[in-house]
């Protein structure tokens, strides 16, 4: 336990963090030279979960809102791109702004009316909305009904057609780095501090002049937009999408990655997402454990909440000098 604390202190040190990050970037960039396609695909899957978890982290980790329908956000992005490419023959890169716009509009429609109310209403509304999206996708012609959209052409990037596993490895690695930068910049900005304040004590935040409704809506919209973009890339990487990829289990998985990893803490979220992507691969040959996966996660979730309500590797914003007053473990409890 003492060593664990020491390692954590080392990782929380700014200089050490940068050195480790630089080394990690180099290692990750060189990895495809040594790995086979299977491992690359597993890593790609881990990157994919990291992107989703970082998007949801803005909503759950930074702002303390509970979103139980995050799969719908990336479904919206994936279907927007899929439909625009297949039905209207758009270039993939041009569908990205469209997917961004649709995600933002959907988030505003859902978040706008509900975020004014008790925050826990959002949980059930997002769940209901995710079901609406999934059922609509399953029963509409334009989304290809239950079979979904298939044979979406792969895009090219400066003349290189992105077909090989290592192409996608690099595309998603770059996306992960971009998302890390975005998340980090938001966290350390005025917006990030306002969101942390709302998460810790909403009434106090409001009393100090933070417009809680618009900040919550902002966090929700940014999170949804990140999910939408991830969905667009997912659609062209997989070349086929179907409603079953966007069900409730998917939303729960992403939520678990964020919560178990450590709400609000970017490295925590990344480790959590990697765990969720790689864990099933480790046990894929042992059927009983594979089936018991979600049961195990449920028990883990309760145990973590009972003992470490802020996740395994929580964010320390709040206990830093110059940050919010008080410790994260005492503020906001009632």
């Amino acid at each position: 336990m003492q060593y664990f604390t020491k390692i954590r202190q080392l990782l929380d040190n700014k200089f050490a963090t940068r050195a480790i990050l630089a080394a990690l970037c180099v290692i990750m960039a060189l990895l495809p030279l040594f790995l086979n396609n299977y491992v690359l695909n597993v890593l790609w899957n881990a990157f994919f979960y990291m992107l989703l978890a970082m998007g949801l982290n803005i909503i759950v980790g930074y702002c303390g809102l509970c979103d139980l329908g995050y799969a719908a956000k990336f479904a919206i992005g994936a279907y927007t791109t899929g439909i625009l490419i297949k039905t209207y023959h758009w270039n993939f890169w041009l569908t990205l702004p469209a997917s961004l716009a649709v995600s933002i509009i959907a988030a505003l429609l859902i978040g706008g009316p509900t975020l004014k109310l008790r925050s826990d209403y959002l949980a059930i509304v997002t769940l209901g909305f995710a079901e609406i999206v999934r059922i609509t996708a399953r029963n509409s012609n334009i989304t290809g009904s239950a079979t979904g959209i298939s044979a979406i052409p792969r895009p090219s990037f400066f003349g290189i057609r992105l077909v090989k596993p290592n192409h996608w490895y690099y595309v998603f690695l770059v996306l992960v780095i971009i998302f890390i930068i975005i998340s980090g910049r938001i966290r350390n900005s005025r917006v990030g501090r306002a969101l942390a304040f709302i998460r810790e004590d909403e009434d106090a935040a409001q009393a100090m002049g933070v417009n809680t409704t618009s900040y919550k809506l902002l966090a929700y919209t940014i999170g949804a937009a990140m999910g939408g973009i991830t969905g667009s890339f997912y659609a062209v990487k997989m070349t086929s999408i179907s409603p079953s990829s966007f069900d409730f289990t998917q939303s729960v998985n992403i939520l678990l990655a964020v919560i178990l990893g450590g709400m609000g803490k970017i490295p925590g979220v990344i480790v959590g997402a990697a765990f969720f992507a790689i864990f099933p691969e480790l046990f894929r040959d042992i059927p009983v454990i594979g089936d018991m996966r979600m049961l195990f996660f449920g028990i883990l979730l309760i145990a973590v909440m009972l003992n470490r309500p802020q996740g395994l590797w929580p964010d320390k914003l709040g206990s830093e000098p110059g940050g919010l007053p008080g410790d994260i473990n005492t503020v906001g409890r009632r």
């Binding site: 759950v60 303390g64 809102l65 509970c66 139980l68 859902i110 009316p113 509900t114 004014k116 109310l117 008790r118 925050s119 826990d120 209403y121 949980a123 059930i124 509304v125 769940l127 209901g128 909305f129 079901e131 609406i132 059922i135 609509t136 399953r138 029963n139 909403e202 009434d203 409730f248 729960v252 939520l255 919560i259 089936d291 018991m292 979600m294 049961l295 996660f297 449920g298 028990i299 883990l300 979730l301 309760i302 909440m305 009972l306 309500p309 906001g332 409890r333 009632r334």
Partner: protein, 317 residues
């Protein structure tokens, strides 16, 4: 249930009446489950995510008990006894969940409590899925589900009458309990101010435990009724009804008992009529009926977030 249409030519008013009956039945399921949601929300402000799974456990318990006793006690008496046994089991599980997972979290932030509830739901859901291998189990009540009265083309079966009577009795008993007994009074008091109750000598933890037991028992009644009515039981049956019961509670005004009953019945009626309207418009009504229900939830929250019978003050987290 929906197969009633299309067999013969119905007049418009008959279709409406038939759907009213169907909606009433559906609504009594929602209302019973919504009551549990609303009671727990009223008292500790927790969205009890595992409530739908308690309903599912009630259904499985009823099915198992009836399987054992149906040789000795067949028919309605046996079903009644099975539902009673299911209520006991669901009450115990509801209490245990509260004791183990929620009670230590009562002082924690609301988000942590909500996430714990999701964890509980995952545990119950996956345990039952592993125990039943994900297969549905079938319920043979020995009662003819189609026997009943006919008024022209409108049919109401004995089973439907039994279920309406059972849910009406339950709800009346609950109203009496909440409004007339000491414990009901204590529940209402805790919903208003927990600390003041503690100072007045009310054992708050005991009352919260009782609320979970009663809420779970109500869900088990609905689960037992679902056994008889639909004839099959599956591990995922609690998920959709959980969201719909929450919708009902929101329609009525969350935390309000009469609101939950009214909301449940209204949602059942709206869903039955909505499905009928969509079918007559040439769309697949049954595929879209959940969209309809969840759409009502979102519209309701936009237009009247405190529900039809909820208090008008907006409560913040």
């Amino acid at each position: 249930m929906l197969a009633l249409g299309g067999v013969c030519v119905f007049s418009f008013s008959e279709v409406v009446l038939q759907q009213l009956i169907n909606g009433l039945i559906l609504g009594s399921f929602y209302a019973l489950v919504a009551l549990g949601y609303s009671m727990v929300y009223g008292i500790i402000k927790l969205l009890n995510f595992a409530h739908g799974d308690i309903y599912m456990i009630g259904a499985f318990a009823c099915l198992s008990v009836f399987g054992v006793i149906s040789k000795e006690i067949p028919g309605l008496a046996g079903i009644g006894l099975s539902i009673a046994a299911a209520m006991v089991l669901a009450g115990i599980i509801g209490y245990l969940v509260q004791r183990v997972a929620y009670r230590p979290m009562l002082e924690a932030p609301r988000l942590s409590l909500l996430i714990t509830a999701i964890g509980v739901s995952l545990v119950i859901y996956n345990t039952v899925m592993l125990m039943t291998n994900g297969q549905p189990l079938f319920f043979f009540s020995g009662i003819d589900n189609s026997a009943g009265f006919s008024f022209g083309n409108i049919r109401i079966t004995y089973v439907q009458i039994f279920m309406l009577a059972l849910s009406a009795t339950t709800m009346l008993a609950l109203s009496f309990f909440i409004s007339r007994t000491m414990m009901g009074k204590a529940m209402r008091a805790i919903a208003l101010d927990q600390d003041a109750c503690r100072l007045m000598g009310i054992n708050v933890n005991k009352i919260i435990g009782s609320t979970f037991i009663i809420g779970s028992m109500l869900a088990a009644i609905a689960g037992g009724m679902a056994c008889v009515y639909y004839g099959n039981v599956q591990y995922n049956m609690g998920y959709t009804i959980g969201i719909k019961a929450f919708t009902s509670a929101v329609i009525g005004g969350i935390g309000s008992m009469p609101g939950a009953m009214l909301g449940g019945l209204l949602l059942g009626l709206l869903e039955a009529i909505g499905t009928q309207v969509m079918t007559s418009m040439g769309m697949s009504g049954s595929a879209w009926k959940d969209v309809f229900a969840f759409g009502i939830l979102i519209v309701m929250l936009i237009l009247r977030p405190n529900g039809l019978m909820g208090k008008t003050d907006v409560e913040r987290m």
